[in-house]
Symmetry: C2
Subunit: 236 residues, 2 copies
């Protein structure tokens, strides 16, 4: 009996250690989302370069989390819910790595955009969209730490708002491009950034769905609430 | 001794079962890549709808693979290389699910594009790019089944070709948009499709990197050979 209790608490301690790494990684990714939007809006090339450097540390952390999780499984042989929790660590760190990549891509593009004509209001609109996604990501991670399925369900719902922001921006960029062909290249890049932010929202939703799975044992059955993902807009 | 041998072979049998599901999933994803390019080029709305339906089966298969892998870990408590192999099953099926999503997105967009003016040669160029990625995906999965690190390294190298195809298309679409604003909306969608195919190539590379990790115990150290991921092109 005593022995079993000892084994259980050793597993819990190890799980906490690896989850702390996930939380750390989450913090780094939240900062990357935040700073990428700032770098884009203020055309701050140094900040953009810094985000690209920091992405290497995010990638390294994912690798470390994978190794630690594998070690935990090998050492403690967890089952059922415990095992599910360790596997979710691997999934969530992979999602965070993808989001970090998107932030890095935005930083790269903001360097390219710095040499192009500015598009009125685009930087601010993208920062607003990015702030929404950053808050979703924060709440998705909080819901994970607290195993809060209600908060996770709320994150899923908010993705609809991000999809609507993306669709509105898509139309705005089209208008800019049709009005003046000199805007075309910049708008192509801005459109990509909008799409990257929209994808980050999808990934925050992916984390929320993992939390719901952990809390309830089932993935949400209803299709994720979603705005039209391919805006239907005719050519001028 | 006899007992240990029994345990080993039970693990191997279980691993083969779950790997067979990954192979099946890989076949479905290869078909989806193939058909998405055909649906786009021939403006075949029924085929596009079919791809969207089939994506549900791909998603369900990922879920099943996850459950089987978790069951395998819980039941057989694999360690070291064995554990790494089971975890790679989870990773690879997740990558395949992402690629299936990209194929579905292409199918969605090809429905939207069917109502727009055609862009000369775009369908054929995208199908060529898609065929390259489909072959990479096939070889990545073959390298996985055969634990063939040399074939996996070859897949990684070929991603450079896909990046170059993408960059050439990016420039072509820009030219079409600048020549005639009526092409803008169609080119925005086509550009997205090109980017989705380029991302599929990245994912095939991701599978190849898992294979190299399985075969050598280390992720490839050298940065992945890569064309410029954000084309630097000035506005007209």
């Amino acid at each position: 009996m005593n022995n079993e209790r000892h084994i259980l608490s050793a597993f819990d301690r190890d799980l906490e250690t690896v989850q702390a790494l996930v939380v750390k990684m989450g913090g780094m990714v939240e900062s990357a989302i935040h700073d990428a939007a700032i770098a884009l809006e203020t055309r701050d090339g140094e900040l953009a370069d810094d985000i690209r450097r920091r992405d290497k540390a995010i990638d390294a952390l994912e690798h470390q989390i994978n190794e630690e999780a594998a070690r935990l499984i090998a050492l403690r042989a967890p089952r059922a819910t415990d095992l599910r929790m360790v596997l979710s660590v691997i999934k969530i760190s992979h999602i965070l790595e993808r989001v970090g990549d998107y932030a890095k891509n935005i930083a790269k593009r903001s360097n390219v955009l710095a040499d192009m004509p500015a598009i009125d209001g685009a930087g601010m609109a993208l920062r607003r969209m990015s702030a929404t996604v950053e808050a979703m990501m924060k709440d998705a991670l909080d819901s994970y730490i607290q195993r809060d399925a209600a908060l996770a369900a709320d994150v899923r719902k908010r993705d609809l708002e991000v999809d609507q922001m993306y669709n509105a921006l898509f139309r705005e960029f089209l208008t800019h491009m049709m009005e003046d062909p000199r805007n075309i290249t910049a708008c192509m890049h801005l459109h990509f950034i909008a799409k990257n932010i929209e994808r980050m929202g999808d990934h925050a939703t992916g984390i929320a769905e993992q939390v719901i799975y952990l809390a309830t044992g089932e993935l949400p059955e209803d299709p994720r609430p979603k705005g039209e993902s391919v805006p239907r807009m005719e050519g001028a």
